[in-house]
């Protein structure tokens, strides 16, 4: 078998990790118990690895916030001193079986959703939605105050126990049917989860009400679920991450398994070189701001790991499923369809689970192949939220993964697999 055949075979297997996956939400546990390799005095962040000195302010503040949340420092000054001393291990969340949405700060005591992929035999942990109570912002947005920290503790101690009891009773909630159905109801499952939220609620709420717990306790959890916008987002990310992890380490595969930014650099990883990042300057997003007071000057270059859903064929790949999201950028229905059709040129296969009415019931493409990106010059379209330099979500839009990431990945792939050395 020649190298091209080996690649084709490996990519087919890698793509099957994405299309044949079987993810279930099975538990909520402290990150220290479900993120493999997450040690004490260790902080994970979104995007490619970056050291404290080179971090954008949002990540720096996240580091300090994590130090205070865990009680590793008594104040900001001490936290910075300890971080700079090198006592704290800092790493990218995507180097582990987790995903760092937004700033993606994860430490051992933070409660995480646990997603178990029963086909791929992998688990991934995702940061839960931080609820409807706006304590001046959210941790994931790069903000921090005592109210935000207290909310995280409140979620862990008060809101999550009924959910855990429900999951123990029913054995887990299947995620894939919700993703598949919501894709036919206007969600692309990156920027929009309107349908997925309702489908999730329909399944989960009756089971919560059946628990033998005080009504007030159940209602607190129910309100948290139904009043939190885009509640299902973290489950889509967890399912995608668990599938991508399964492809990591697959020899000869040129499929992309991670796409993320840290506000400075943007990076990708590929299945056959799981320990390596291929980076370029983080792109800016085009889209719509939440207020006319914001302009591109306020927008931080791409930060966050949520493009893990694009890795699994959702978000920007699935634009045709959600012309509503694309219209936020002024796109027409035809242009939304054209975006997904364009992505077909750079993907390994189609996902039979995501059959899209706007594509005349064609299936969405899935499995980005670095070779096809380089051959066609078509960079993957990615949807996401815009963050400001000061922290906080200021809009939503789209960007393209920089071509330089794919060029570097191809050269590294050749260094490992070329016979022409």
């Amino acid at each position: 078998m020649d190298v091209k055949q080996r690649i084709a075979e490996a990519n087919q297997q890698a793509a099957e990790c994405l299309t044949e996956n079987d993810p279930y939400w099975v538990d909520i546990r402290p990150a220290g118990e479900c993120v493999e390799g997450l040690e004490d005095h260790m902080i994970l962040h979104s995007g490619p690895p970056v050291n404290y000195e080179n971090m954008v302010m949002l990540h720096r503040r996240g580091m300090v916030s994590a130090m205070l949340f865990e009680g590793w420092a008594k104040d900001e000054k001490e936290a910075v001193e300890i971080i700079r001393s090198g006592e704290i291990k800092i790493d990218s969340a995507l180097n582990y079986n987790t995903v760092g949405a937004g700033t993606g700060i994860i430490t051992k005591s933070v409660a995480m959703n646990v997603i178990e992929d029963r086909r791929n035999h992998t688990t991934a942990a995702t940061f839960p939605a931080e609820g409807p109570v706006f304590q001046g912002g959210f941790c994931g947005w790069g903000l921090y105050n005592e109210g935000i920290a207290e909310n995280l503790r409140y979620m862990r101690e008060e809101l999550f126990p009924p959910m855990r009891e429900m999951l123990a009773k029913n054995g887990g909630i299947a995620i894939k049917p919700i993703l598949a159905e919501s894709m036919q109801m206007g969600d692309e499952n990156h920027t929009r989860q309107t349908a997925a939220d309702l489908l999730f609620d329909k399944q989960v709420l009756p089971e919560l009400f059946e628990l033998d717990l005080p009504k007030e306790q159940i209602m607190r959890t129910v309100k948290y679920i139904v009043e939190t916008p885009r509640f299902f987002h973290c489950y889509g990310q967890g399912a995608s991450r668990a599938a991508a992890i399964a492809a990591d380490g697959m020899e000869y595969s040129t499929m992309v398994t991670a796409v993320a930014g840290n506000g400075v650099e943007f990076g990708i990883k590929i299945a056959s070189l799981p320990g390596q990042w291929f980076t370029a300057e983080a792109p800016m997003m085009k889209g719509r701001y939440t207020s006319t007071k914001y302009t591109e000057k306020d927008q931080l270059p791409w930060i966050g790991d949520s493009c893990v859903v694009e890795v699994a064929g959702m978000g920007g790949i699935a634009a045709a499923a959600s012309p509503i999201v694309c219209n936020l950028r002024g796109m027409t229905l035809q242009e939304s369809i054209a975006q997904s059709r364009e992505m077909e040129n750079i993907c390994i296969t189609r996902n039979p689970n995501y059959v899209i009415p706007n594509l005349d019931f064609d299936c969405l493409p899935v499995g980005i192949d670095i070779r096809l990106v380089l051959k066609t010059g078509i960079c993957p379209a990615i949807h996401g939220g815009m963050f400001s330099y000061e922290g906080g979500l200021i809009g939503a839009g789209m960007a393209r993964v920089p071509m330089e990431c794919f060029q570097k990945a191809m050269k590294a792939f050749a260094a490992k697999y070329s016979d022409r050395k």
Binding site: K4, T254, Q334, L374, K375, G377, Q407, M410, S418
Partner: protein, 64 residues
């Protein structure tokens, strides 16, 4: 403003004789502008072949 009568109308031949029917390749903007004017047109999604560097081109020859 009054339009002047087209005194050359009877002399039009070939493609100028009938209303145009357009197959637009590539940029959607042209298709949209024609469609907005009631022109019979179809859009063909097409982009020119992408040229990578020689080094990447050689790697693609080897691996794709």
């Amino acid at each position: 403003m009054d339009q002047k009568p087209d005194t050359n109308a009877e002399k039009k031949t070939g493609i100028y004789k009938d209303k145009p029917a357009v197959a637009n390749l590539g940029i959607m903007l042209f298709y949209q502008a024609l469609a907005d004017q009631g022109c019979k047109c179809v859009q063909i999604n097409w982009i020119p072949e992408y040229k990578q560097s020689e080094e990447i081109g050689e790697l693609l020859d080897e691996f794709l």
